[in-house]
């Protein structure tokens, strides 16, 4: 099993450009999450999904959109990138999510917005 994979690993955008980050998991997990990690701060939840076709807002959803068309994939979109979105983005998944359980993380995507 590859676990949780993320594409791309690194990207540079200009302000106003758009892009989509792809997260894929091969563990048949129901729940998937997108976090951002900034210096001096803990991971913050952007959006999450409790199953195929569903999405929900997390702690910092503004400026991002997500889609979960297939169970194994969770996409994070930036419609008009801003320098404040420069961050490292992590995707995670968990089997059911309803009870307290471990989340498994991908390797991260480093995004620089100029």
């Amino acid at each position: 099993n590859a676990g949780v994979t993320q594409t791309p690993k690194f990207r540079v955008l200009k302000t106003g450009q758009s892009m989509t980050l792809l997260c894929a998991q091969d563990m048949n997990h129901e729940y998937m999450y997108w976090y951002r990690q900034d210096p001096g701060m803990g991971l913050r939840l952007i959006h999450y999904s409790v199953g195929e076709g569903t999405t929900a807002k997390g702690e910092v959803p503004d400026g991002y959109n997500v889609s979960r068309l297939k169970k194994q994939n969770f996409l994070l979109g930036l419609e008009s990138a801003a320098p404040s979105q420069t961050s490292v983005y992590f995707c995670a998944s968990s089997p059911w999510g309803g009870a307290r359980e471990t989340q498994y993380f991908g390797p991260g995507t480093r995004l620089l917005v100029l």
Partner: protein, 113 residues
Amino acid sequence: GESVGLHLPTLSVQEGDNSIINCAYSNSASDYFIWYKQESGKGPQFIIDIRSNMDKRQGQRVTVLLNKTVKHLSLQIAATQPGDSAVYFCAEAGGKAGNQFYFGTGTSLTVIP
């Protein structure tokens, strides 16, 4: 709001010594806690977890202690090795619906050979 914090941002230990990393949480309703290890350029990796009905849990070379009275969590690493050098995060499941965690800022552990 809920918060998870770490007492020390950096920790240096000699190889072979024991390491103790601390974490404070503020939500007394939190009932599940996880320690993650994050190596440079990688995603967080699960180390050990503990539920609020326990006060101690042991894994391979690691022990997590939970003190609900003072809302404190600690991670003990026995016989610390160079491969243990990383940033360690604690996370709490904060009493809300779903599996939403709140993460601390992390402690950077450096093992001196």
